[in-house]
């Protein structure tokens, strides 16, 4: 049955009017597309925000204790000062050299100055990540760059720095024609001038950084015996599952009793109502004290966090069941137990199911707190560690994973309603996709006449 396009359907903004299917899909795509687009734009279009410079080549200043290494971010106001200070130092070294009264430094200091080329080597793939202190490789790098055998692609070296590389190589190769740390010069080498690219603050990593970091984290086995990301994920799921399962197992029967019998309602609900205002995290110390530091107190926290809400919400849902259905069953001979099992339970089931979906969302919130008590574990434990180290590009993939897990479980549970409750108004009215229709036709639970 196709509807004739009427005037009211043409409006984008009609109160309580459904938009045409195409427009609805478009808007759904936009609801994800717009935030993504904002993120991408802010990340890759330099003049929108980018208040910082991300250092690609750094230098240590004399007598300044704050050390910036490649990869650090400095504000755009500070960067020129930084660069000028290093230049000034180089100028002094050169002046001294011209006056035939060169500066001397420790050999160790010169080695350090040479090592500042390492990040460039890593970025170009000439050095491995763990070779940043491999002085022989670094020696060769200086040589090859100075002699023009290598040209940096990943980071475009400024003319100034190219000259410094040549200048330093002359000094270095004179003292140590082949690699030999003992022969390294003690006359001060020039420092590389800090170079960097415009970037956003560390807490807003760009999409590709997040994807790369996530890819790495989820595909490498960490050393020092830490769990892999997938183990962490399973651990988190485990805690939320058991916490919520105990909550349901104890809470649902109690709630249905409370909603059905005034006796249980008056006996339990006032206390439950009181208890739910005491924030669950405040009990975490207590839980750790008598349940140990393993998973038990974490599961307990998720349980306490959801149980009391669950009892109240579901007791209320139970009370909302139409009384006339119970009365009708009574006039058909149903007694107390049959009323509970055959009328109240199936009658509230669709609403109970929806309540549980909402409560499961809260359980995720409690999970985050639970994983931080006692021993920090699971995904939140990882977020906590990396967050304190400012590795936000590694934090975001985990946050997104949690979000996606919650979102897709909810979508799945929502979709399963078609299977479980084909008789409800919402399900019968809802437009059904191909998959849903297939599912319904494979079960003989509904018959369609209209």
């Amino acid at each position: 049955m196709s509807e004739v396009k009427s005037k009211s359907r043409e409006h984008w903004f009609g109160i309580r009017k459904d938009l045409a299917p195409g427009r609805r899909t478009l808007l759904t795509v936009c609801s994800f597309g717009i935030p993504l687009l904002v993120w991408v734009t802010v990340s890759y279009v330099p003049f929108i925000w980018h208040p910082d410079i991300k250092l690609e080549i750094s230098a240590d200043r004399d007598g300044v204790t704050t050390v910036f290494t490649a990869g650090d971010r400095v504000s755009k106001e500070f960067f020129p000062t930084f660069v000028e200070a290093v230049r000034q130092e180089n100028r002094k070294v050169l002046d001294a050299r011209v006056k035939n009264n060169p500066h001397f430094v420790s050999r160790r200091e010169n080695i350090k100055r040479l090592r500042h080329l390492a990040p460039l080597g890593v970025a170009n793939g000439w050095l491995k990540n763990n070779e940043r202190q491999n002085d022989e490789k670094i020696f060769n790098l200086w040589k090859q760059l100075a002699e023009g055998e290598l040209a940096s692609r990943a980071i475009s070296l400024s003319q100034e720095n190219l000259e410094i590389i040549e200048e330093n190589w002359i000094l270095l190769s004179k003292a140590s024609p082949t690699f030999n740390l003992k022969l390294y010069p003690t006359e001060a080498l020039l420092k590389l001038i800090p170079q960097g690219i415009s970037s956003n603050p560390v807490y807003l990593p760009a999409p590709h950084e997040v994807i790369n970091a996530g890819w790495l984290d989820f595909n490498t086995v960490p050393e020092n015996g830490m769990p892999t990301m997938w183990e962490r994920y399973r651990h988190s799921l485990n805690i939320i599952f058991w916490g919520f399962a105990y909550s349901c197992l104890l809470g649902i029967p109690l709630a249905i009793l409370c909603g059905s019998f005034d006796f249980f309602s008056k006996l339990h609900e006032p206390f439950v109502d009181f208890f739910r205002y005491m924030p669950a995290p405040t009990f975490s110390v207590l839980f750790v004290a008598f349940l140990g530091t393993a998973d038990a107190p974490k599961i307990m926290l998720v349980f306490v966090g959801t149980f009391f809400q669950l009892v109240l919400v579901i007791a209320n849902t139970t009370r909302l069941l139409e009384n006339s259905l119970i009365e009708a069953a009574q006039t058909l001979g149903a007694k107390r137990r049959q009323l509970l099992g055959r009328i109240i339970l199936p009658g509230i089931l669709p609403n109970l199911y929806n309540d549980l979906r909402i409560l499961l969302g809260w359980a995720w919130t409690w999970l985050v707190i639970a994983e931080l008590i006692g021993e920090k574990t699971g995904l939140t434990g990882f977020i906590d560690t990396q967050g304190t180290r400012y590795n936000f590009d590694r934090v975001f993939p985990v946050i997104i994973l949690i979000g996606l897990t919650g979102f897709f479980t909810d979508r799945l549970l929502n979709w399963l309603r078609y299977l479980f409750f084909p008789w409800t108004e919402e399900v019968r009215q809802a437009p059904k996709g191909l998959l849903t229709r297939l599912l319904l036709s494979s079960t003989d639970r509904t018959t369609y006449f209209k």
Binding site: L332, G333, A334, P346, W423, R428, F449
Partner: protein, 299 residues
């Protein structure tokens, strides 16, 4: 053909009709109501919804209750079905004192009250399974009842897929499948359109003629009450008391054609007198509300 203005008294019965009532009165008493009163405590004081109600119903009798809105019809039927408790007085079913609801007293509500999560067939099977009938037997019996109300091919549909009239037929089948001794119906056709309503009345009459069941029927539709009932219980409001218990002089079997017979009209006239106080009809001084004249002086 306009009905003659000279109507007989509603009390005069033809010999066949009075013979029938004679026989009815000799049947065993199915339901006996004794000094039934119901008071509600409200913020505005006590409401006497029912006051000292006494009557009895004979086996396989069809009895209707009418009365102005708020006179206590629903209160009465709910007490008889055991869903509410009376303030005082007793209800006896074949001499047994009744307390609480039970399968021997079926009830059909105005708002259908089918169980939405059960298919039509399972709805009808509900009472049978409670009774302890095996699944197969219950199913066979339910199908029989669905065929009687003409809904056999909707057995696997969910209630929400049916129209109002169909739902009410399922509700009736569900109650009758349980073989209640007495069936209570509270304005069961009140929410239906006129067409469906009259066919439902015919259905109910036919079922009643073929099933051993006593019917207690609440309605506010006078034609419906006369067309269906043996006797009509007229209630008065404030306090709810029995105004009159009328023996309907219209002979059986009934048909819609009888709506214009003298007995029918005489009964209807009497009922109208009873439930519509005359002073209401005269008060037609209506305040003039902004009325734009059409200008052609046609009223």
């Amino acid at each position: 053909m306009p009905p003659s203005l000279e109507l007989p008294s509603y009390l005069s019965q033809s010999p066949e009709v009075s013979e029938r009532f004679e026989k009815l009165r000799n049947r065993p008493v199915k339901l006996k109501v004794e000094n039934l009163s119901k008071k509600f405590d409200t913020p505005n004081g006590e409401i006497s919804a029912l006051n000292k109600i006494n009557f009895q119903i004979f086996r396989r009798e069809f009895i209707s209750v009418i009365g102005p809105s708020g006179c206590g019809k629903t209160t009465l039927i709910r007490i008889l079905a055991g869903l509410d408790f009376p303030t005082s007085g007793n209800v006896f079913l074949e001499g047994r004192k009744m307390e609480g609801p039970g399968a021997e007293r079926g009830m059909v509500f105005q708002d259908y009250t089918l169980f939405p999560w059960l298919s039509v067939k399972k709805n009808v099977m509900f009472g049978l399974e409670i009774k302890g009938l095996g699944k197969l037997k219950a199913e066979a019996e339910a199908m029989e009842w669905l065929d009687i109300v003409g809904l056999g091919k909707f057995a696997d549909a969910y209630p929400e897929q049916l129209s109002g009239g169909m739902k009410q037929r399922v509700a009736i089948a569900r109650s009758l499948a349980n073989r209640p001794e007495i069936l209570f119906l509270d304005e069961p056709f009140g929410a239906l359109d006129a067409q469906t309503r009259s066919s439902m009345q015919a259905y109910l009459l036919k079922i009643w003629q073929n099933v051993d069941v006593t019917v207690f029927f609440v309605t506010h539709d006078l034609d419906e009450a006369i067309y269906l009932s043996d006797r009509i219980l007229v209630l008065r409001a404030n306090p709810g008391e029995i105004d009159e218990l009328i023996e309907v002089p219209v002979p059986r079997p009934r048909a819609p054609g009888q709506f214009l017979t003298p007995e029918f009209l005489a009964t209807k006239k009497r009922l109208e007198e009873l439930i519509r106080p005359p002073e209401l009809a005269q008060n037609d001084e209506f305040p003039m509300v902004r009325l734009t004249e059409v200008g052609d002086e046609v009223e």
